[in-house]
């Protein structure tokens, strides 16, 4: 899987309450969730994000609540991949489970600027920043987590392996 898009860059400890505030959790419709995504820290995201744009976070991205609505909201915004220094563990598994690939690149993430154009190859983990010319390497997903991602999420994986 390869993606190319413009970045939306956020900081460290982006929690799932800001990705999708609980006041919008009375629904789990992906489109509706997407319309409120990131609103508490970035009112411009939901209205301006384009299909294929890439979200970039710092350390501990997706900390807090286990709400799967968070990766669902990001995915339904048209974002095909999230890159961060690292991810909080429940967000990490939720993203893989719903078929939203995530890549961890540690401190290198600080070199990516808001609005840069990235080329991302999920299978090799190679991220090219076309704006700055820098290249970053993410560790590949381990073991059967890669199979879950390749199947497009946990439900497909379980159905295929039942």
């Amino acid at each position: 899987m390869k993606f190319e898009g413009k970045t939306w860059v956020y900081g460290d400890n982006i929690d799932t309450d800001v990705i999708i505030p609980a006041r919008y959790l009375n629904t789990f419709d992906p489109k509706e969730l997407a319309s409120h995504c990131m609103v508490d820290i970035d009112k411009t995201f939901a209205g301006n994000v384009k299909k294929g744009d890439i979200m970039v976070g710092g350390w501990n991205f997706g900390c807090g609540s286990s709400r799967e609505h968070a990766p669902i909201a990001i995915k339904a915004s048209g974002v095909p991949v999230v890159i961060a220094a690292n991810f909080a563990r429940i967000f990490y598994r939720n993203a893989i489970n719903v078929g939203l690939p995530v890549l961890e690149i540690g401190d290198d993430v600080k070199k990516i600027r808001n609005g840069d154009r990235l080329k991302v190859d999920i299978s090799s983990g190679i991220i090219e920043d076309e704006t700055t010319g820098e290249t970053f390497h993410a560790a590949p997903l381990p073991g059967f987590i890669q199979d879950i991602a390749a199947a497009g999420g946990l439900v497909n994986y379980v159905k295929e392996n039942a």
Partner: protein, 421 residues
């Protein structure tokens, strides 16, 4: 490699994976003793469950507790609750708890003996880690994990590295489990235990009652941990009398390996609060200037147990809360509510001028029952103070134990109990 020792967490994971030995980093699939979801996380789990098209693995091991927007806060929430109720009826789920017959999931599961020592519990709620207080492995997962687990009875885990939290010393009277945990998160940071287990140990454990332990294990996730776990001791056994009679006790091997040890001497602790907007922004009460407060919330899966209400009531007894403060008290379960009533705590709260609510998660996540306006400040015994967590994006949440929350409600500004005596 030679088999090195294992931590409590690693032993429980190995047992449930049918293996003799696991080590940090291993990806394993475990059999689950309980799978749990609430009114927010169950509806998407049910959608995923249906996609697989198979029956539930065990109607006695699935636990559904509508508690977040319950009693229904609006029409959409009523729809979510109805999805869960209809599913529970259709599949004859044993452990479904309707509003008015239970309470907050992480208060009622231990209280009713649905979870116990040695069990492996996955819950579609991040505070599932609460049950580590009982010597269980319990960890938060997502809705898809839950939906799949309702079919397979299994969940995948990465075996975590471990942090040893060595607790020593005598606990002063004005210190609660909340002070212990907020102090720890302040020391190691909100990602200090990311992907790791927090293994609590040391001779200070006996100073912590079960309520303290539930509070501490509950907030393991606020340090990024996969789980937090306490050894099973005489207090645990006494708690489980009449609740869970048969269980396996796991103990850490003497040569278990830990990537880090953190020491906490209880006798040195002071009452603390966590400033906005992270649970690790811990400060000792009295080391900062006056911070006026508009609202106080006492309750939640973190601090909604009888002992928490007892502490708050002992401070509020015969006093009135500050005229500029609204104080909302929420017993964590119907049983806590009844016992608090019998003990006179509810009278104390109402006489002091508090709102007393039926059990709900409501205000903790900014759902309802105590939403903050722009610029308002709240001291809360809940678990998260993220931006906008309890209401307007420009409101502020300060996390504290029940003794600081009660003293603050009386003083109108953040206060330690000794300041209002």
């Amino acid at each position: 490699m030679t088999n090195m020792g294992m931590t409590m967490t690693q032993k429980i994971l190995a047992k449930h994976a049918g293996m003799d030995f696991v080590k940090p980093g291993d990806l394993i699939t475990c059999n689950l003793d309980r799978v749990l979801a609430n009114d927010i996380t169950a509806p998407p789990a049910i959608v995923e469950f249906r996609k697989i098209g198979k029956p539930v693995f065990d109607k006695d091991k699935i636990v559904l507790v509508p508690d977040h927007f319950i009693p229904n806060k609006d029409i959409k929430s009523a729809g979510l609750a109805k999805i869960v109720r209809d599913f529970a009826r259709e599949h004859h789920i044993t452990h479904y708890y309707e509003a008015g017959r239970a309470g907050i999931e992480h208060v009622i599961l231990p209280e009713k003996g649905i979870v116990g020592p040695g069990m492996l519990i996955a819950g579609a709620d991040s505070h599932t880690c609460t049950y580590g207080a009982l010597g269980a492995f319990a960890s938060g997962v997502g809705s898809t994990d839950m939906g799949v687990a309702m079919v397979t009875g299994k969940c995948w885990f990465k075996v975590p590295d471990a942090i040893k939290v060595n607790i020593t010393g005598k606990k002063p009277d004005d210190i609660t489990g909340k002070d212990v945990m907020l102090t720890l998160i302040g020391m190691i940071g909100v990602d200090g235990a990311l992907y790791k287990s927090l293994e609590f140990t040391g001779d200070g454990i006996s100073e912590l009652d079960m309520t303290d332990r539930f509070t501490i294990a509950n907030m393991a996730i606020e340090a990024g941990a996969k789980n937090g776990i306490f050894p099973v001791d005489e207090q645990t056994k006494a708690y489980e009398k009449g609740r869970v009679e048969h269980y396996e006790i796991f103990t850490a091997d003497p040569d278990a390996s830990y990537c880090r040890t953190v020491d906490i001497n209880l006798s040195e602790l002071k009452p603390v609060v966590a400033f906005p907007h992270l649970p690790g922004n811990t400060k000792v009460v009295g080391t900062f200037g006056d911070i006026k407060i508009d609202q106080v919330v006492i309750g939640s899966c973190t601090n909604g147990r009888l002992e928490d209400l007892k502490i708050a009531a002992s401070i509020m007894k015969g006093r009135r809360i500050h005229p500029d403060v609204r104080c909302i008290v929420i017993p964590g379960s119907q049983q806590v509510y009844k016992e608090a009533m019998k003990a006179g705590y509810i009278d104390t709260f109402i006489d002091a001028g508090c709102v007393v609510s039926t059990p709900t998660c409501g205000p903790c996540l900014g759902g309802y029952m105590g939403i903050l306006a722009a610029g308002e400040r709240c001291v809360s015994t809940t678990n998260r103070n993220f931006r906008g967590r309890m209401g307007h994006v420009d409101s502020e949440v300060y996390l504290a134990g029940p003794q600081v929350a009660a003293a603050t409600a009386i003083a109108g500004k953040i206060a330690a109990p000794k300041e209002v005596h």
